[in-house]
């Protein structure tokens, strides 16, 4: 989840622009065949926020947002991590309670669509879902503040099916520094290291998106299983603290981890970052608040995206194309290696570039990578196999540590 109001994203405005982008018809037969026979895993989607109004349903095609069952099918998205997210400032039992209700919301959506969705907690279950022609639904908790500094809560989340936890969101929590807050813990505290060890034991992937560079290195040192960055891009191309330096990506790769490229325009494009000034952010925020209640995150996400595209049309913000995603993937592959890059869209939680408005556009990534000369095997790795490998490895470490079940 990128808070639109803080970082302001991008995209375009409207149909006129859209006509210029690649359509599904431009996907080659080879790319189509490859894409739809691969397990495409997206490690970060904030669609959960939309569930909370009690009306949104993943079943029918929605006119807004990026994710629903018809569009996941159309885009060949085979496995999706639904993010459990509340703002960093909400802490204590309130945070736990709200996280639980979001986990419930995901599980209810899965229960409501047994023909299309299957809750998965292991790589094998993801593959089994694919075999049954279903989309694997997984869960990640985006921010360590939601465990209320309590390993019991962490274990309860694991028992409820959560398979990764991002150690912080945009603010520090009680035991880890965030990349977008003032450092107070010098990375991970001792308790924070215990959290990482317990995650290893439980078979939860340690997610280092959002955390400070020092927290990242503390994780690398502490974790017995490969971590991943569920939704972060490359700092060498776009200098955002939420992105990873080349050195960090190399070090992550050395531990077997994966950087999952985030499609948020503010993380993809340096010019966009420059133009998305605090003034623009403020203006955007005011516009959004006209349409949404203060705590209606789902509404804010959808309206934020719509208004951002208006700003692009008005020339207040630059237009960023989906090809920027490909640039980041290529850069990360060059730096970290083909086994260490994946997809973490941030759909429904960030501002998407033009041409990647929703899950239906995903085959374009496959098409673009083939055009760049990637082998089919390499494309499959990026689409999902790298993530499944990390999951398998995390599960193995968990068993060794006499974990979980």
């Amino acid at each position: 989840m990128v808070r639109t109001l803080l970082t302001a994203g991008i995209v375009v405005s409207a149909a006129a622009f859209l006509a210029a982008t690649v359509t599904a018809d431009d996907i080659s037969a080879r790319a189509k065949k490859l894409h739809f026979s691969s397990i495409v895993v997206d490690t970060h989607d904030d669609t959960t926020q939309r569930f909370l109004d009690g009306k949104f349903d993943l079943g029918p095609r929605s006119a807004t947002g990026s994710i629903d069952i018809p569009r996941m099918k159309e885009g060949g998205l085979g496995a999706i991590f639904f993010s459990i997210w509340i703002p960093s400032k909400v802490t204590g039992p309130e945070a736990v309670n709200r996280a639980m209700t979001q986990i419930d919301a995901v599980r209810e959506q899965v229960r409501a669509h047994p023909q299309d969705l299957m809750l998965a907690t292991t790589a094998a279950e993801v593959r089994e879902a694919r075999k049954q022609g279903k989309i694997a639904a997984l869960m990640g908790v985006e921010g360590g503040h939601m465990i209320n500094a309590n390993l019991g809560v962490l274990r309860s989340y694991a028992a409820l099916g959560v398979r990764y936890m991002t150690l912080t969101h945009s603010g520090n929590d009680e035991w880890a520094d965030s990349s977008t807050d003032k450092a107070v813990h010098n990375g991970l505290t001792d308790f924070g290291k215990d959290v990482v060890r317990e995650m290893n034991r439980l078979g939860m992937i340690v997610d280092i998106s959002h955390v400070s560079d020092k927290t990242f290195y503390d994780v690398l040192e502490t974790s017995k299983a490969p971590p991943f960055a569920s939704h972060s891009s490359c700092r060498a191309i776009c200098d955002a603290p939420r992105n990873m330096t080349d050195q960090m990506m190399k070090d992550l790769a050395a531990k077997g981890g994966v950087v999952q490229i985030n499609y948020h325009v503010g993380f993809l494009n340096q010019e966009y970052r420059g133009k998305a000034t605090p003034e623009i952010a403020k203006e955007l925020g005011e516009e959004v608040r006209k349409h949404c209640a203060g705590d209606d995150e789902g509404c804010q996400l959808i309206e934020g995206e719509r208004i951002t595209r208006e700003f692009v049309a008005q020339g207040k913000l630059p237009k960023v194309e989906y090809t920027a995603i490909i640039e980041h993937i290529e850069h990360a592959v060059r730096v970290a290696g083909i086994d260490h890059v994946g997809l973490g869209s941030d759909f429904d939680g960030a501002n998407m570039p033009f041409g990647m408005e929703d899950a239906t556009k995903l085959p374009k990534i496959t098409e673009a990578l083939l055009q760049k000369g990637y082998s089919e095997g390499d494309v499959r790795k990026i689409l999902g196999e790298n993530t499944l490998r990390v999951m398998t490895e995390v599960e193995r470490v968990s068993r060794e540590l006499h974990g979980g079940k």
């Binding site: 204590g92 736990v96 309670n97 639980m100 209700t101 419930d104 919301a105 019991g152 309860s156 028992a159």
Partner: protein, 411 residues
Amino acid sequence: MTRFRRCFAACLCLCGVLVAGSRLSAPARADDITERAKKLHFSSIVLDTHDDTTQRFFSKGYDIAKRNPDGHVDIPRMIDGGMNAIFFSIWIDGRIMGPPAVQKALDQIDAVHENVRKNSRDMVLCRTAAEVREAHKQGKIAALIGVEGGHMIGNDIRVLRMFGDLGVRYMTLSHFYNDEWADSSTDKPVHNGLTDFGKDIVREMNRQGIMVDISHVSDKTFYDALEVSKAPLIASHSSCRALCNHVRDMSDDMIKALAAKGGVIQINYERSFIDQAYKDASDKLTGGVVAQFDLFKKECGDDQECFGRKMAEKQKQAMEEGKLPHVSWERIIDHIDHAVKLVGAEHVGLGSDFDGADMPEGMEDCSKLPKITEALMRKGYTDEDIRKILGGNTLRVMEQTEKVSRELQAQ
């Protein structure tokens, strides 16, 4: 006829044994019935639907794997007593509400999970009747979870579902105090039983396969739950009002209505719920169970160990001073027998309240449970009926609850 004669003989015999036991402290003579009872008991699934041992998980001195000098339940004593299936109760003070209640309940659910995991050679977490039977086959103790009080869901049906997903297999609709949507038997009614939301909770419990527990609730809440629920209910730890007139117990009419819907009353061993003289004396002494609770709450806060210690000290002293009468474990048998005579052996079970209540003499901990089997046998109960009371009835309710859940989820 046979039954009557056997009972007559058994009662005489048992009295003799008790008298001898108290005078000479000689063990009971290992006659035929004793041997048969032992064999029956240790080959049965003995399922106790209410144990507050969870509270002990939070005190440093306690280890469920070891024989403890105090309290009522640990693995060695469970093995001694043939108690091979246990509902660990999740309980916090009924006045804690909202997110803090949810958090505390989660801590306790986790503590059960962790204790089971750390003792996985002896125990396994179970969610279904089939899993309990499988655990028994493997020679392991089946650990189950019940939430004792609707206040712990923070007035949020989604939290109820999460508890279900974490393995909670029953919820008592209230504890000592009314919650947001159900009246308690020991509080002033404000909802006239179940509110509309309370009825939704019951329906959701049906859908999730979580048993509806009507111990602790007001009579009106009981009848409301009975009307709404599509699955049979249990009273996880309540005894018979006809023998001991306590609001926490069930009237004969209630027991009949519960049975008519296929439910089970799980007899509670608490002294003041099974013995009228004790209850009367205890009320006089402390003003009743809730007042007593509050008294120690003031002294001990949330320290449950302190709670138990203070309570025991005070009671011991009162007994020595003759202010509280002695209560024999045989009152448990009286309550079982009363309920069986009223509604049949299919609707009675065991809900000790071990580690959460004051046990009668002779039932000091779970190692004493075989005495129940022997006493029922001496009363002339058939082996089949005894097995039902020991656990079969509860497993039947679990199976029916699971079936209703499957049907509702398929809709």
